[in-house]
């Protein structure tokens, strides 16, 4: 058992995993990480068979420490990270030792960063998931002094690794499939929607994100529509005709018409678009959208192929000496292993 301690919380921190499935009919949405791919990439870095629970950090991280040697993965939106003042690479895994201070600062681009210990956060599951679902009253924000139980790192001696990540942290084009209510919008409204550049509005959270644009997109059928099942990625047109994108912690039912659904592959890009980011939408056929679907297992397999060992020049490691002083636990072993495996 390892304990991950939050010594200071600077951003909005919650425990998140891949969420809980099977409760839509009972009014509880899946929830889980806003950027699911970031948890999958963490699992790839840590060589795990499936994604585990980590800390989702919105905007900034905080100060963290551990009670037993454990690797952690830093994924999602890059944040300034240091270990005892030595800079740590993002999109990478690192060994953290008891007594060391892991500082995670402000986000550099994007919104949500993830800190995942190699054993996974091991708080008691609630309805099959450890993810905080605050709108449903499950879990809570993490604050200074909180301690989180973690399962032991299965392989603390494994070398640090990095993962190649295609940028998804500055907005861009999001691909959209038609949904059950796309037909409620006239063709010229649909055409205008796909021609319009949008800005990610300041208003947004784990439930949904507001978008801004000059034109308005309304449906003549909106009034008197029966509430219907909704889900993450849905582009809901609220009363004023601007899209509100439903995200991980959305409600399960809504009465506003939806023009389409951002495909799951592009939802991390939506989650990571910071206020002010530019977004456009591209309409796919159903066959195109279906062909782009990947299971989490497939995504993990693809992510694992993007990982390689982190090879560092000893002269750039500011705290090399301190590594060697800590009970001889690492004693430069990390560097040796990297060299061995890189030959």
């Amino acid at each position: 058992m390892t304990t991950l301690r939050i010594d200071r919380a600077d951003g909005i921190l919650t425990v998140q995993d891949m969420g809980r499935e099977g409760y839509l009919g009972q009014g509880l949405s899946r929830g889980g990480a806003m950027d699911r791919l970031a948890l999958i990439e963490a699992a790839a870095l840590l060589d795990l068979p499936a994604p585990l629970a980590g800390i989702e950090m919105a905007g900034a991280g905080g100060l963290f420490s551990v009670t037993a040697p454990t690797r952690v993965a830093l994924t999602g939106a890059a944040m300034l990270a240091t270990l005892d003042d030595a800079p740590l690479r993002w999109q990478a895994s690192h060994l953290i030792l008891p007594g060391q201070k892991l500082r995670i600062g402000a986000v550099q681009s994007g919104v949500y960063g993830y800190l995942t210990p190699a054993g996974g956060i091991d708080t008691p599951p609630m309805l099959g998931s450890r993810a905080a679902h605050l709108s449903a009253g499950l879990g809570a924000f993490l604050t200074a002094g909180d301690t989180l139980p973690c399962a032991p790192d299965p392989d603390p001696d494994a070398p640090p690794r990095v993962i190649e990540v295609a940028g998804r942290f500055n907005g861009g084009t999001l691909r959209v499939a038609d949904g059950p209510q796309t037909g409620l919008f006239d063709d010229d409204v649909l055409q205008a929607f796909y021609d319009t550049p949008f800005t990610r509005a300041p208003r947004g959270n784990r439930q949904g994100i507001q978008l801004d644009a000059k034109p308005r997109f309304t449906s003549d059928h909106a009034a008197g529509l029966a509430s219907d099942m909704i889900g993450p990625g849905d582009l809901q047109m609220t009363g004023d005709g601007l899209p509100y994108v439903l995200m991980a912690e959305c409600q399960t039912m809504g009465g506003y018409p939806r023009i389409g659904q951002i495909i799951p592959a592009d939802l991390p890009r939506m989650a990571q678009a910071a206020p002010g980011a530019m977004l456009r939408f591209q309409r796919l056929t159903q066959d195109q959208a279906d062909a782009l679907w990947r299971s989490d297992a497939d995504l993990l397999h693809e992510a694992a192929a993007r990982c390689h060992n982190l090879i560092r020049d000893p002269s750039t490691i500011a705290d090399l000496l301190s590594y060697q002083l800590v009970g001889g636990v690492t004693a430069g072993r990390e560097l040796e292993e990297c060299r061995c495996r890189s030959i």
């Binding site: 449903a136 949904g179 059950p180 219907d228 099942m229 889900g231 159903q286």
Partner: protein, 246 residues
Amino acid sequence: MTASLTSDILPAGPDGVLVRFALRPDPVAMTAAQVLARGLQDHPPAGVVEIAPGLVSVLLRFDPARTDRARLAARLGPQASAIAADPPPQPAPLRRWTIPAVFGGQHGPQLAEVARMAGIDEQQAIQTICGSDLNVLTIGFAPGQPYIGLLPQAWDIPRMSELNPRVPAGAVVVAVRQIVMFSAESATGWRQVAQSAFRNFDPDRNTPMPLLAGDAIRYTPVTADRLRELAAAPDGLGGATLEVLA
């Protein structure tokens, strides 16, 4: 007069299809959705991982590795169109909840207004709510939160344009011939007529979300003092009882 139903089978994400009987909250479509949902729950199509009944639709989520939308559409189409062509009566409920509630006064501050809008007095309004054959039409919006109906046609009361700034958890509110019983304190455009001590969602309870779509609901009036006692019950059901019907 029966509205004509559709039986559209629509895409709902890469792993979902939605069977929809109407665009508007038509009572016949609500029954159709309940009938289809129950049939599918009894005999789930291969590869379906989740069946979520909506108000006038049913969402099916499937494992794309095990089935695809064409196969599901072929399986669902005849069933849905048969229901739409000849809408069945409301299926007999499998279970019935009896839920104590305090009506009127500070526990139902808008009971008088609602009664006036329905053209009856407060006592008749309580009798109507407690005497109607009500069912959970769907669960949604918040965990375990029921939409209950349908009240008589005279209760087709619109939502308020100004929001009720705060109703407590357990509040019984009405609009558009329906009742919602809130899972958590909330703002709402619906009018509060009563207060129960029924907690729709408690993650620590053996059954976190006890109500199911299709359950029969009967409200029974109690005094405020009695509700206070019932609210102390550790199961959080506020004195509600559950009968399993044959």
